[in-house]
Amino acid sequence: MIELPAPDRSVLARREEILAALRTLLPPGARGEGVIGDPIRLKPYETDGLSAYRQPPLAVVLPETTEQVAAVLRYCHANRIRIVPRGAGTSLSGGALPLEDGVVIGMMRMNRILEVDYADRLAVVQAGVTNIGITQAVAADGFFYAPDPSSQLACMIGGNVMMNSGGAHCLKYGVTANNLLGLTFVTIEGEVIQLGGGHLDAAGYDWLGLITGSEGQLGIVTEVTVRILRAAEGARAMLGAFRSNEVAGQVVDAIIASGIIPVALEFMDRPAIHACEAFANAGYPLDAEAMLIIEVEGNLEEQDFLLGQLKEICARFDPISLRVAETAEESLAIWKGRKGAFGAVGRISPDYLCMDGTIPTGELPHVLRRMGEMSEAYGLKVANIFHAGDGNLHPLIMFDANDPVSFGKAEAFGADILKLCVEVGGCLTGEHGVGVEKRDLMPVQFLPHELAQQRRIKSAFDPLWLLNPAKVFPLEGNPAFAPQAVA
């Protein structure tokens, strides 16, 4: 149960007038209507990747240009109408959950790649281009866009910017913020501002850095200039199976201490190994308590050299088995189970919550042990699949959404895990964002005056709190409204 703000009755009462006004700003075009008001057609927009929460919006607009986004914002600002931006709706934290009195701005029609420049190693794309779409546009020439969230087939670059998304390869290539050069940004007043461009670093304040990861609190991004990188000559994976989570955690430490930075270092615990193996038949070791997937890059000789060293390190920790891919196909087989992990857990449990805290990697054994105890206490299974090199956990808590008691327990279990992450020196969210899901946990990580400081920055961009309100910041102290319970 999450509280949403009471809708503004005067806005609800003006619904038809608002729809009519929006239609004059976004008239129907070649790609269909620009404004959706029909309740049945609003249905697909009522939730995002966190499907436990649902709320149909007042209207959905589907702009095709930056100017249209600016016009909608100008109108909504003048008429005090709340805004919820939406990319592909893959947020796992409810970042795109609509408001009853809010207009959803869907960016999916802004899906053009505007420029690719290999000499300057950049691409200019509209916000609705998918993450994989950027890499696909440059892959034939040997380039790629580095951040690769699991949802990369669907998620859009605008949403990646708003969440500062990561992925399995950020250990080497960094998160979204590292890979941005510029943004076209529309303020709540409808002013269009170009931040950065093809050059590195800002001379004044780092607006680009502040806006990245701001979850739609500060404005709307319509175009993005990303860095593209030349892909390595090749990559290959190995798999190590170990007798306990503690031992696998020690292996991670030993690898980093050796000076080798693998391009990916993924950890799976016993429940995750079993779920993935049942789903993908990847040949995972079912007798292991923990498994690591380690990937290196380079030409064949370099891969052999690094994998040889990694094998030696793993061998010091009494592994149950070690499997080094000899070919690209064998590498794909090792990744197959991991890539299908969320689907695999979906097969053994009707529903699951995917948590996203980060911890210092040294705390891994302790946190996994505590999580096991919580799992028993709550009577809910949990599978762990995560980016071990950077400590970003993804515990999947399995529950039954048709059973309110089960859902309540899953939410409480998830909150306990995130509190534990903060307790050991980590944070609530490594890459999924706070959204609506973790909004009320913000006081676990921040002191009241620290939250107040963040609110003041929000107010500097959005004085009326019209942009994606009821997300990120707890409702208490939110100047925009008094709370009201919504199931």
């Binding site: 093809g198 050059h199 670093d201 780092d206 850095g209 210092p360 980590g426 944070c427 973790k438």
Partner: protein, 402 residues
């Protein structure tokens, strides 16, 4: 200015800011003051130095994390990292030659200015990307934290990014946690003799667009005769596992062969060269005086040669290009006319500029950073008021009246 306060702890910084707010007496905030000559002169009643906040507070080599108090000198941190075969990713520059100072830069100063060395061009990003967490005292005289000590943290608005590069105008950094990395086993440089800056930047682009891991890409417009490099020279650095370098070097040489003769520099010759690029010492050409102005422009790499040509046409310019050709260092006469030429060149190239060093008379009278469009300037003023409502932190440092 009536003296400089040097608090020994965070509580002392909070108290100094509280007093400044109460007295309406602005503070000139700095670490060791090594970059005092950057941007505009600060008009302040008192100085507040973080140089008393010293020491490494956390170092976990196996987690690639180091935290230190803001006043900790960079060499002290680098020495601690070297003991474990690790390094600061951002290659923080040492501008003591540029500014004619003798003290080392502090961690707080490097983060507050977000100054990154040649490795900026690699995928590891700018100093601000390596900042995992900060503790800072705002103009509300409150200690706030943003981020922490883990590698991925997107919780809440990213005040780390806002504070990094804000030159002490939004908060006084007191402690910073950084991502660090193992030092590569080997490094070498390929120097390509080219005829024009256009060719030099094309050579850098070819190298950076290759899969061999180029981690430094600079242009010496007039070479470096002391190292046997004559005329325009493109420099490309490889850093990786030592065993990989012979193959990579040969493969990269193949990529560069069409651009000109290639010279291999290894060991200390290579290391020294990149430190000289990093510190912009190659720009100074032996003149230690600080009467000349120095600007730093950042543009798209392809635009670098055009900017260089425009500046050379406008005044007696000495140049150094880094970051694949996109970072243009230029030294020239400290005149308003030369400054106008820089402003125009950066704008024409769609990039940005900083008046990096100049006599007070010039840096107090011109815009040392590009003007922001009105809607952004309005947001900037509100953000400044949100962080420092009394306007006591480094007033005028970045912009007149701000």
């Amino acid at each position: 200015m009536n003296g400089v306060m040097v608090p020994a702890d965070e509580a002392g910084v909070v108290e100094a800011v509280r007093q400044a707010v109460a007295d309406h007496a602005p503070l000139a905030v700095e670490g060791n003051g090594t970059k005092r000559g950057m941007l505009r002169p600060v008009q302040a009643a008192r100085g507040l130095s973080t140089s008393g906040l010293r020491g490494i507070t956390l170092y976990k080599p196996a987690e690639m994390v180091l935290a230190a108090r803001a006043g900790t000198p960079i060499p002290e941190i680098e020495a601690a990292l070297a003991e474990h075969g690790q390094m600061l990713i951002g290659e923080p520059p040492d501008f003591s030659a540029l500014f004619g100072t003798s003290l080392p830069a502090t961690l707080g100063g490097i983060v507050a200015t977000n100054l990154t060395g040649p490795r900026r061009i690699a995928s590891s990003g700018a100093v601000r990307d390596q900042v995992l967490g900060v503790r800072a005292v705002t103009g509300h005289a409150e200690l706030v934290r943003s981020g922490g000590r883990v590698h991925k943290d997107v919780t809440g608005l990213d005040l780390r990014k806002l504070l990094a590069g804000s030159h002490g105008t939004l908060g006084v950094l007191t402690e910073i946690t950084l991502k660090v990395l193992p030092r590569p086993g080997g490094a070498l440089t390929l120097a390509v003799a080219v005829e024009t800056l256009e060719q030099a930047v094309a050579a850098l682009s070819a190298g950076l667009g290759s899969p061999f891991g180029v981690s430094g890409a600079a242009v010496l417009p007039d070479g470096e005769p002391a190292l046997g490099l004559h005329g325009p020279t493109a420099l490309l650095r490889l850093e990786d596992v030592a065993e990989f370098l012979p193959h990579r070097s040969a493969a990269l040489r193949g990529v560069l062969a069409g651009f000109g003769g290639v010279t291999l520099l290894e060991g200390e010759a290579s290391g020294m060269l990149w430190r000289a690029v990093r510190d912009a010492r190659l720009l100074l050409g032996g003149t230690a005086g600080t009467e000349e102005a120095v600007w730093r422009l950042s543009v798209r790499p392809k635009a670098g040669p055009g900017v260089a040509a425009a500046l050379r046409a406008a005044f007696q310019a000495r140049l150094l290009l880094d970051w694949g050709g996109g970072l243009v260092w230029v030294a020239g006469p400290a005149t308003a006319a030369a400054h106008e030429a820089v402003v125009w060149a950066a704008q024409a190239a769609g990039g940005t500029f900083t008046l990096f060093r100049a006599p007070d008379s010039l840096r107090a009278s011109v815009a040392v950073l590009p003007e922001e469009p009105a809607p952004l300037a309005a947001i900037g003023a509100r953000v400044k008021a949100a962080m420092d409502p009394g306007g006591v932190l480094n007033p005028g440092r970045m912009r007149a009246g701000g």
